[in-house]
Every structure is written in C-alpha cells, then in structure tokens.
C-alpha cells in the first residue's frame, strides 16, 4: 500500500539536460602542468544517449569526474538543467571504470548503498531487489565482492547506480570487463532501460561498434589534451543491428578519426 503510493507520488525520473561550456582542465604532476581537457563544449539534450570515444589517456574519465561534480574544472562551467554543478548529487550517478565495490558489504548491501546514504532504504528495499534482478544477480545477494567474477562485479556496480533512478547516468566503460556474450545482453538491457526510464546517458567506451549500437550521438575526442574532434548523430531506430551498413559506414568514419583509416 505504502510502496504503491510512494511510486505514484514520485514522478517518473526523466533525463536532465547537461551543458558543458568551454571546459578546460589540467593536472599538476611534480610541478609540471599536464593539460587534459582543452576547451571542451558539449550540449546534451534531456534523455539523449551520448557515447564518448577517444584514445586511451586523452581525458574521458576526467571529463566524467567533472560532470559528476567530484572535481572542479580549471576553466569553464558545467550545468545540469541550468544549475551549475558544484558537488556530487545522486541525480548524477557514476559507474566507474573499476567496479570499486565495498569489500566489507555483501552484494545486496553494496547495491543498497545509495538508498542508505540518502536515508530512504527502509521504505524502498524492493528497489534493491529489482536492481539485482535486472542485472541477473539475485542469487548472489549475500555474496561478498571477493567471491564475484570481474564481470559480475561490474554488473553489481551497474545495479548500484541504477537503483538511484538517476537523471544522468554516467558510465565509464562499464561493460569493458564483460565477456562478449554478456556484453551484448547487457547492451540490450541498457538500451531498453534507457528507453523505459528516459535518463540522459553519458557512456565512455573504447569500442566504436558499442557506441554506434547504443547511442544517439557519438563524440570523438582528440589525443590529450582532449578536444571534441567530431560530433556524430546516429539516426537509427532501436534495436539496432550490428550488420547495418549505415552503422558500418559510420564505424569506418570514426575509426578513421581515431587514426586507423589505413587498416580499416
């Protein structure tokens, strides 16, 4: 009764708009300045699915940390729905490159982390169960992280993010450690989830094909310091097929931008 009311009371979480305006960032390494982001501007519509592609070490994870509010940019501003991003907020949830599960918590308790931190766990326990169901790990709710495989840990991290109903879901190569089969299943899950909930998605990936199967829009970054090199719309209905010649064409184009034109 109470839970049903609560569900009606909370409006369906829609995506938020994200504006990245002339953001530059640099790290100090032993006194020397290492520029990582150079004048990056990007405007993401509510509910868009944006994939970020770029060479390793160019600054993708750094940009995601800025969006999450974990770090402040050296220059420029980031806004979520016109509100300046100054600190982390559970409306923007990150799935990090490493799963970073808390080893002292069971799988269930790890997934419950966000609800517990926000003080709503007591009334919303079913959301944890639902999220675990979603990633297919209900049987492992009492397991500890050291008992999981790398791919399972990655799925728990995904469930831990999804349970919070984020407005912007920030994914840093979340499927990188999965085997190709689970990966394809999880990609389909991700798309259907995104379509159902309507959150804005930012996905960093190394895999051009993954970017094209999942995203509305693919941003290609240059080498460090990262600049936006190309902004490609992918106007194809879902579910998409890997063999689609239109996507194959875009893929060739993207790999060319990443400097692989000769071999492909």
């Amino acid at each position: 009764m109470v839970t049903a009311l609560a569900e009606i009371a909370t409006p369906p979480a829609a995506g938020a708009a994200l504006d990245i305006e002339q953001v530059s960032h640099a790290f100090d390494i032993d006194g020397a300045e290492l520029p990582v982001l150079s004048d990056v501007s990007l405007s993401v519509e509510p509910g868009e699915f944006v994939a970020l592609l770029g060479p390793s070490g160019c600054g993708k994870s750094t940009l995601l940390r800025l969006v999450a509010g974990l770090d402040k940019p050296k220059a420029g501003t980031l806004r979520e729905d016109e509100v300046r991003i100054a600190r982390p907020h559970p409306s923007r949830v990150v799935v990090f490159q490493d799963p970073t599960l808390f080893p002292w918590r069971t799988v269930w308790d790890n997934v419950a982390l966000g609800l517990e931190a926000q003080g709503v766990l007591k009334s919303q326990r079913h959301r944890v169960d639902d999220a675990l169901d979603l990633v297919g790990l209900s049987d492992f709710r009492t397991a500890y992280p050291h008992q999981l495989s790398g791919g399972m840990a990655q799925r728990v991290a995904l469930a831990r993010a999804l349970v919070n109903d984020p407005k912007i879901l920030i994914l840093d190569e979340p499927l990188g450690k999965l085997d190709s089969l689970t990966r394809i299943t999880m990609q389909a899950e991700l798309v259907s989830l995104w379509q159902r909930k309507g959150f804005t998605t930012l996905l960093v990936t190394h895999d051009a094909e993954e970017a094209l199967v999942l995203a509305n829009r693919v941003i290609v970054f240059s080498d460090r310091p990262a600049r936006v090199k190309a902004d490609i719309r992918v106007d194809r209905p879902y579910p998409r097929h890997r063999g689609d010649p239109y996507l194959a064409d875009l893929r060739r184009q993207i790999l060319g931008l990443l400097g692989l034109d000769a071999t492909w």
Binding site: P103, L113, E116, A117
Partner: protein, 340 residues
Amino acid sequence: MSTYSLSDGIASGAPRLSRAPVLASWLRESGVGVLAGVAWIAFGLSCLWWEDLGDWSRTHSLGIAAFIVAAIALFGTVGADYLGSAGKALRQRAPWLVALGAFLTLWEVATAKFAWLPLPFFPPPQSIIEVYTDDLPKLLDSVFASVKLQLGGYLIGATVGFLTGVSIGWSRAVGYWVHPVLRFIGPLPATAWLPIAFFTFPSSWSASTFLIALATGFPVTVLTWSGVASVSNAYYDVARTLGAKPSFLVLKVAIPAALPHVFVGLFMGLGSSFAVLVVAEMIGVKAGLGWYLQWAQGWAAYANMYAALIVMALLCSGAITLLFAIRDRLLVWQKGTVKW
C-alpha cells in the same frame, strides 16, 4: 602396449598388498592413540610406583587421574569411528597427548622421585595440583582482580585510541594538534609512567587502569589512524556520487575500510597491556596474579608460582583467542585471514 602392461601391474599387485594397507591404516589411525594411552599409563605408574621424596598429598589422586586420561585416550582414539566429531578431534590431538604424557612422566620422575632437578625450585606436578585444590580461593580472587583491571583498562584504552585514531585520520585540525603529542609520548613504554602514576592518581587501581589504557591506546590509535588514512579515495568518490553525507563517509566508509588495521592495533595493544598489568600488580596493586606471583616468591612457594604462571598463560591466550573470534566475526568479508 604400455597401457596393457600398466593395468597388468596393478591387477597383479593388488591382492598381495591388500592386507598390508589395512594394517597400516589401522596403525596410522589408532597407533598414536595407543601410544598416548601407554604414555599416560606410564605417567600414572611413575606417580604410584616409587615413594615421593617430599611430602605431597595429591600424588595418589594424580596417578589415578593419569590412568583415567589414559583410558580416555585409548578408547577414544581406537573407537573414534563411533564417537563422531569428538572422536575425530581426539584422534587429531593424539600426538600431543603422547608428548604430554611423556613430558609429565619425565617431570614426575626427575622431581618427586629422584630429585634430578633441585627440589624447591622445580616442584613436581602433584604439588602444582595441590595449589589448585588447596589455595583455590586466593588464586580465584587474584584471577578476578586481574581480569577486572585488565578489562577496564583495555576497554578504555581501545575506545579512546580508536576515537583518537579516527579523528586524526579524518580531520586535519585534530591531526595538527594530536600528532606531535602522539609522536612524543606514544613510543614511551607505559611502565615508565609507573612511579609518577602511583603518586598522582588517587588509588593504585586507577593508576594501573590508566597505564593499561595508555599501553593499549597508543598502538590502537596509530593503526586506526593509518587505516583511515589509507582508505582509497575511490570508495569516497563512489559514496559521494551516491549522495553520502560526511557522517556516512566516516561511519560507513572510513571505519569499515580501516577495521583490519584497527584489529592489528588491538592485538598489539593487548600484548603490551598484559606486560603493564603484571608489572603494575607486582609493584603497586595489592591484588591480581602479578601480586600473587610476587607473594609466592616472597614465601619461596615455587609451586604456587608455576600454578599462577599456568593460569596467566591460559588467560592471556584466552583473551587473544577471544579477540580473534571477534575479528573473524566482524571481518568475514576478508579472505585468507590468519587462523589462531
């Protein structure tokens, strides 16, 4: 071809070997048990066969007790298959029973019967038993006093140390003030404070509690602090993006992540607080096992000293075991922890 010859070899070898393994396995499983029985019978006989050189009242009972142990060892290990887990446990400990029986026999013969070891300094087993039966009230009082003092001091020291460690690890301001003090005073052995503590504190009991707390507190503080300081930033990042407030970061991230370090500190604190306890009891407090030891020495009651030492060893070992059990409970999530 080679497979044929191999299976032939096995087939022809099997019947010849069939009796020997049965005997061998019986010997392996029960042989040690029989040996244990023999060792304890030997101990019992060594008690009863010769006359005691001194005047000890428990020699006869000790001999009987040795025979009972022998019987338990013998039937327990031979019939282990019918005794379930108790039988299995007994079998596992059978080699120790052999060693113990042999040692006690040697001890008995070397002291009470032939005095190969100088007598007042090396009392026989029966005189230690005599202490436990005849001086029990005083010994129990001492145990109670020691446990009370140790427990109070240790709990205070561990709590204060833990809270201090978390505060230093968490807050720069607290670290700024506490860290130098800790560096200056911490490494000083707590016993160095003994003379000052005994005349500044209102009672020797409160002085000792303070010293035990001090000995416990230093390692607990340092290790809690280093535990909190070494928590990976990635954990805080995850928690913060999920909406965690600072109190959550301390209570649900920093402390659980630091807990393995905290336990190392608790173990070290326990060890050094035992040392302080005994010294404090010997010097200032008029109760406890340390005082009992001192008192026994004054009367040249060497049997009482050994008896008290054995009790002390059991208590210290029991405390460590208890701490291990608590750690294993709280840190089930860790893989490959040391078994005590």
